[in-house]
Subunit: 416 residues, 2 copies
């Protein structure tokens, strides 16, 4: 028994919209423990849609359609499904009534084209749409096929799914066994290097462990199938603990944790404060820190020292060192970090200076060369060199530079 | 002749990631005039992937795969395709060399599992990956089937598509009748208000005009079908000119233009410089400005004055005004802008102070209340109040606040 998601709409074939409905339904199916192996996108074309239905019923028993329920002539999902199974459409008075009421509420007049939305296959149940005009259906045209249709508008679809589809699927016995996942996050280690360290875990049956590479970070998703979230947690916990031990400091957090939120938790716990001095990231490091609501408890601010005059004037970087070693150097990174920490009177100061590209690189200082400076209590100061690679683009280099600065502080706070 | 997009990855079936690759490729196919009727998503499962290939070659001649090219055991796309067509994999020395070089650049060691990425079907061409390690292939396993594979990482896929796949498809005769679009961008006007001003244009046959709402901005896509880009431009130009005239200052740019890039062009043209003082945006305004390569010509830096002590200490905001009017006030915004402009000796200074939420709002100063300060030559100074709405989330409010600050300066530079 498995489900297939079929999204109908020429706008997806033209790339005009992102298919976020498929992601939502996929997440929901996983949570309910309903297996799901295929997703299909097809245009507003009855013949092609019929071929898609034919394939789908050969490999799945629950077919979930989104899109093509609107009032315009190219909205053909419902009639095409009915036609495929050879069942006539019938106009349902309760849909007409519901639509008339909604139009009246908005001070608009229902048009003739809206009547089309009241036609559903004989024998199908109405899947009510509380916010929009187009209802969906729940229909078993054959004992081994259950069909759900939803409009393409995401907000309408989400509510209909939660209010009607989920309770229906639960009455059919789904949701007794759920899939619950935790996403473990790592920084400072590549996907293949991490994968080699935890290879045996990839063969576990329950929970399963699978790696994903993000923008400079690696994640391991640990997913358990169980009868409740608590039972799933019990399966996941020992594995999660073992993986964390293997990964050591390269592990930084789970699920919605970010490097900025983890650093924030550590600073809040120790009652310390932070300021930043940014050159190549131009404000991106401060932005990451302040994306966390409540970050004003520990983050006091910083200086964007994009021009060298600002490094000297506002941060007190030594102009002779600037001239001798260049703005992209360990010594300037250190002076920036000390400068911002001192001027803003914070416990810690971190700095970033580097070559984000695409221009500005030289043989000795290529694009992707970045120095992080760290200044802390009792006059401690250090710097870290990174080479993110001259083939990476500006946006990537800036992103991983800011993340690396946070990671430097995170490791320091965890090892004292 | 048509193309089918096949995205491989269990993470999409679990709803962990949004399938943005399908949207990108769909847009690109439309631009090249390549018909495209189906998209399929399938997990990292060789048997199911083979069934998908079988269906795809029965209805399309160009198969475009994304995902499953990584170094881990669940990355199986390339070997499964080879296996389907009964062709052996061969290790290509040039791929090994390229990978070794990239690992060396990043100071990392290539692992044994990476060698797998050098295996491609006998007879296939390498589709080079300039930024990541996994190359793709271009392969005609049969005269009527052309296969492209791309990694799932969007940034890698985009570049490989543009640099190798598009030129290849053009040599195959595609792209003779093209769809060429220009995306006109607007700030400071809502979608429905703009739509009402340009309603008649929505009924044009060629070029077509369609509205899209983005994050606080509105776009009008003007698309023409023609035999060349120049011919399409000729169709688009008069319409574009008329729409710009109707929109006035609300129009800010086209295609890849951003508010930051447009402001940068204006500053570069006038030989002027800019600095920023940021409270609620926490660095986001500086980040937008420095996302533009070459922005160091006019952007000198700024101060992230998240804590009030930084507003006073580094920007010279009057502590009495801070106490009397609060940090989120027009007068403090003005003092922040004047302070940063003076201390960094720039022509212009812009500032942002506001309540990004979700906490911190009061009845008189709700979440979403933001003040922009602008300081310029000859002592000019002004402030602008925005209310972005208490129902908006933190990330949205911060984003539109930074954009609005840029927009204030843009309008000022255009009206003198």
């Amino acid at each position: 028994m498995s489900a297939e998601i079929i999204c109908v709409g020429t706008e997806m074939l033209l790339g005009d919209i992102l298919n976020s409905n498929a992601q939502f339904i996929a997440q929901q199916l996983a949570q309910l423990g309903i297996p799901h192996y295929y997703q299909t996108v097809v245009g507003d074309n009855p013949e092609r849609l019929k071929r898609v239905i034919e394939i789908a019923i050969s490999r799945a028993q629950i077919l979930i359609f989104t899109g093509g329920l609107g009032p315009t002539p190219d909205d053909l999902t419902c009639e095409t499904i009915a036609d495929f199974f050879g069942v006539p459409l019938v106009e349902r008075a309760e849909i007409i009534e519901d639509m008339a009421e909604k139009f009246a509420q908005r001070g608009r007049v229902m048009t003739a084209s809206n009547r089309k939305q009241a036609l559903i296959p004989q024998g199908a149940e109405i899947l009510p749409n509380p916010t929009g005009t187009a209802p969906g259906i729940i229909w078993q045209p054959r004992p081994d096929v259950t069909i759900f249709t939803f409009p393409g508008v995401p907000s309408e679809m989400y509510r209909m799914w939660e209010e009607t589809a989920v309770p229906y699927l639960k009455t059919q016995g789904w949701g007794k066994e759920i899939i619950y996942s935790r996403s473990l996050k790592f920084w400072g280690i590549g996907e293949s290097a991490l994968a080699e360290k935890v290879t045996p875990y990839f063969n576990l049956p329950n929970p399963t462990v699978a790696p994903y590479a993000g923008k400079g970070e690696v994640r391991l998703r640990v997913s358990a199938k169980a009868t409740s979230e608590a039972a799933a947690q019990d399966l996941i916990s020992p594995i999660e603990k073992q993986i964390k031990e293997i990964a050591g400091l390269d592990y930084y957090g789970v699920n919605d944790d970010t490097l900025a939120s983890v650093v924030g938790q550590l600073l809040r716990a120790s009652g310390e404060t932070l300021s930043v001095a940014e050159s190549c990231t131009g404000g991106g490091l401060g932005q990451m820190l302040t994306e966390i609501s409540g970050s004003s408890d520990y983050f006091w601010g910083g200086v964007i020292s994009y021009d060298n005059s600002v490094k000297v004037g506002l941060l007190g970087v030594n102009p002779e060192d600037l001239a001798k070693f260049g703005a992209v150097s360990g010594i300037v990174a250190e002076q920036m970090a000390v400068g911002v920490k001192t001027r803003l009177s914070t416990t810690w100061g971190i700095s970033v200076t580097g070559i984000a590209g695409p221009t500005g690189g030289t043989e000795s200082k290529p694009v992707g060369l970045v120095y992080i400076g760290l200044a802390g209590p009792n006059g401690e100061v250090s710097n870290f060199e990174h080479r993110f690679g001259a083939t990476r683009n500006r946006s990537f280099i800036r992103h991983v530079s800011a993340c690396s600065a946070l990671d430097v502080l995170r490791r320091r706070l965890l090892t004292r």
